[in-house]
Amino acid sequence: MVKNDRWSYALMFSPGIVIYFCFLLIPIFLLVYYSFYDWDGLSPSYSFAGLSNYVEAFHDKAFARALQVTLFITVVATLAVNILGIAFAVFLNQKGRMTNFYRSVFFFPLLLSTVSVGFIWKSILSYNGLFNNLLEQLGVERIEFFGNPDLAVWTITFLAIWQSTGFIIVIYLAGLQSIPGSLYEAVKMDGANRWQQFRHITFPMLAPAFTMSIIFMFTGSMREYDRVAILTSGGPAGATETIAYQVVKVGFSANRLSYSASLAVYMLIIVSLLSVSLTVYLRRREERLL
């Protein structure tokens, strides 16, 4: 590489580096820095608090509950979206007159903003919403989708699944289209039925797409905020508060920015550890299968 090339390469990647530093690394550094203080986010003065925020967060029952809710949404949504994603991708990978139409239909929810989707579903599922009015007309008792603590968590999870499936389908469709047709021809000659084709060819060959989809869903669901804010405001009685929701609430409503920073650092550590472990495991699985 000649010297001029190095400079031109440096020039080309510098905007990316600057953006990465300014909007990712520096905020993360400051997040950690302020988590060791007792700043309320407003006062001109603040003092060093050591590990007290972390100790308090460790014993905070609301935080533990939020972690539990977040993990529930993450695990259920990640599994469900991937199962549905593979199933629909296999269905949509077949040639047919309506295939492109169906692909658009499944992808459509992703084009809508989470906030808009939240308001739409709220008008459908609230106690006097469209769905419950329909139930009443059918003589069925209304359902408290947002008023029952358990059902509210399931409702938010369902909506996360509904909105994310389209994107995951696209990833799996791309994976399916990269599988050589000759592999299917070979197993068909050996007499494999459709389930055996899926089990021994399709699923193993989708390993890279599977890794990407799992990680995408996992990291996205761990940051669940918008739907909670729009649909339930964390209620009823805090039953749907996720970690991200609590970080914002503690920081901006209770004015404890340093404490909320410590919650965010915990979240960062948990998400990093789990996503790195998952990535390592899934990469090894890819190597084993392919």
């Binding site: 520096i26 106690y127 947002f146 008023g147 905020y225 339930t232 964390g234 009685a237 920081g251 404890r256």
Partner: protein, 446 residues
């Protein structure tokens, strides 16, 4: 450092998580040149109406836009002010989303050095603690406001407001009350229970509430008057550990509320609807009583319905009327670091005290004038009833997250919501709920 942190946190928390967008379009004059109140007062006197000296000054104004206080309302007044004050232009900004108050938006602007010259409807105590607000000189204009001392902090005034906003009101459907044979409105807890029982016997839902903040609000307005009528500085005393939420009076009030829930007087599915929906439920005649603030009367005035709505103060244990609400709360405040303190103060006063602006503000949000010579506006019959209730009421204190002697610890309204929602979910352990309010207080009193 804090500036960077705010930018980072603002991006990560607000833009990233809330998807609300970090629209900091306030780039007004908020740097350097601090003005002390004395300087402001002096400059007001010396410069007075000398318009020639004012050259192209821009005042950044954070407005509070609601369905009642529209953009047109502000723009019309701004135009009037600009015409009367050549050389001063007003740049109006507003929070990207209505979150109940502009506080979060203002916090990000403050941290990034873009705090507007004039702010509206902010939590005054919070921004005084942040040393962000200018002390308002007590001049003749201010002395023209009844009870202007109510919102003072450590003997200093930081907001210009001349309004009364009663909040502990129960709106009722006169037709349903007549159907149930209720002749007079309840004044005491026992009378309210008796009325609710009569309504329930007629298969009418006695009381309406909703999830989100409405649950906490309903709980607070139904319980607090019995406690605060005997102690108008309860929050100040709570800071001094003289009183607690687990004291007998509070436990008794919360127990009374839980009893109303337990007896099935509230609407089914309350936690699955929000404020907008419950308001519609009441206006459709699906419930007899609706505890809400005076602002509801603005919606009632334009609603089509086949019944009349009346109002009474939320009953107290012994039947003594005591309304809670805002007494010169909110309003307009001026940034301490504004470059144009005199002009900003002039604009803030104009927005609250100019007769046209004052009247428009009152009418839009169904508020009541707190001037020595109160301005009257065209009130609906319901608003007239509220006005008459106010006449018989001593100066109000706040409740929930508002001042009762002192402003409570930040975010206490979220804990009220949790307690109220737990009760609506059937949790009858009221003492545990009240204890959680004490725990929240102690944990966040830092």
């Amino acid at each position: 450092m804090r500036k960077w942190f705010a930018l980072g946190m603002g991006m990560m928390m607000v833009t990233g998580l809330a998807a609300c967008g970090g629209n900091s379009n306030g780039n007004g004059g908020s740097s350097g040149n601090e003005s002390t109140p004395a300087q402001t007062a002096n400059s007001s006197e010396s410069k007075g109406t000398d318009k020639e000296t004012v050259k192209d000054i821009e005042i950044v104004f954070q407005s509070w836009v609601t369905p009642n206080l529209t953009v047109e309302y502000y723009d019309q007044l701004i135009q009037k002010f600009e015409s009367a004050n050549p050389g001063i232009t007003i740049k109006r900004i507003q929070p990207p989303a209505n979150e109940g108050s502009p506080d979060s938006y203002l916090k990000t602007l403050l941290a990034s050095g873009d705090f507007p010259d004039v702010v509206q409807n902010a939590t005054i105590q919070m921004f005084v603690d942040a040393d962000a607000l200018l002390e308002i000189p007590i001049d003749e204009d201010i002395k023209n406001i009844n009870n202007y001392e109510a919102e003072m902090i450590d003997g200093k005034l930081y907001n210009i407001s001349a309004i009364r906003q009663p909040q502990s009101l129960v709106f009722y459907n006169k037709k349903l009350f007549a159907e149930a044979g209720i002749a007079s409105t309840p004044k005491s807890w026992a009378e309210l229970e008796a009325a609710a029982e009569k309504l329930k016997a007629k298969n009418i839902t006695p009381l309406l509430t909703a999830g989100d903040w409405t649950a906490g609000f309903t709980f607070s307005v139904m319980t607090s008057p019995s406690v605060y009528k005997d102690n108008k500085s309860w929050y100040a005393d709570r800071f001094d550990n003289k009183v607690k939420f687990t004291d007998e009076n509070w436990k008794e009030a919360a127990g009374y509320y839980a009893n109303l829930v337990e007896k099935g007087y509230f609407n089914k599915g309350a936690l699955s609807i929000d404020y907008t929906a419950v308001e519609q439920e009441f206006l459709k005649g699906k419930g007899a009583m609706y505890p809400m603030g005076s602002w509801f009367s603005a919606a009632e005035a334009v609603a089509e319905k086949d019944f009349e709505v009346g109002v009474f103060a939320t009953p107290t244990k012994d039947g003594t009327q005591y309304l809670l609400g805002g007494e010169n709360a909110g309003g307009y405040a001026v940034a301490k670091n504004t470059k144009h303190a005199e002009e900003a103060l002039k604009f803030a006063k104009f927005m609250m005290l100019d007769p046209e602006a004052h009247k428009g503000f009152l009418q839009a949000d169904a508020l009541f004038s707190n001037l020595k010579e109160p301005l009257k506006w065209e009130m609906s019959p319901l608003q007239t009833e509220i006005y008459e209730l106010l006449l018989n009421n001593p100066p109000m204190v706040g409740h929930m997250n508002n001042k009762v002697g002192r402003v409570p610890v930040a975010g206490i309204q979220d804990q009220y919501n949790k307690v109220a929602q737990n009760i609506l979910l059937g949790d009858v352990d009221v003492e545990k709920g009240m204890q959680s309010l004490d725990e929240y207080w102690d944990k966040n009193n830092k």
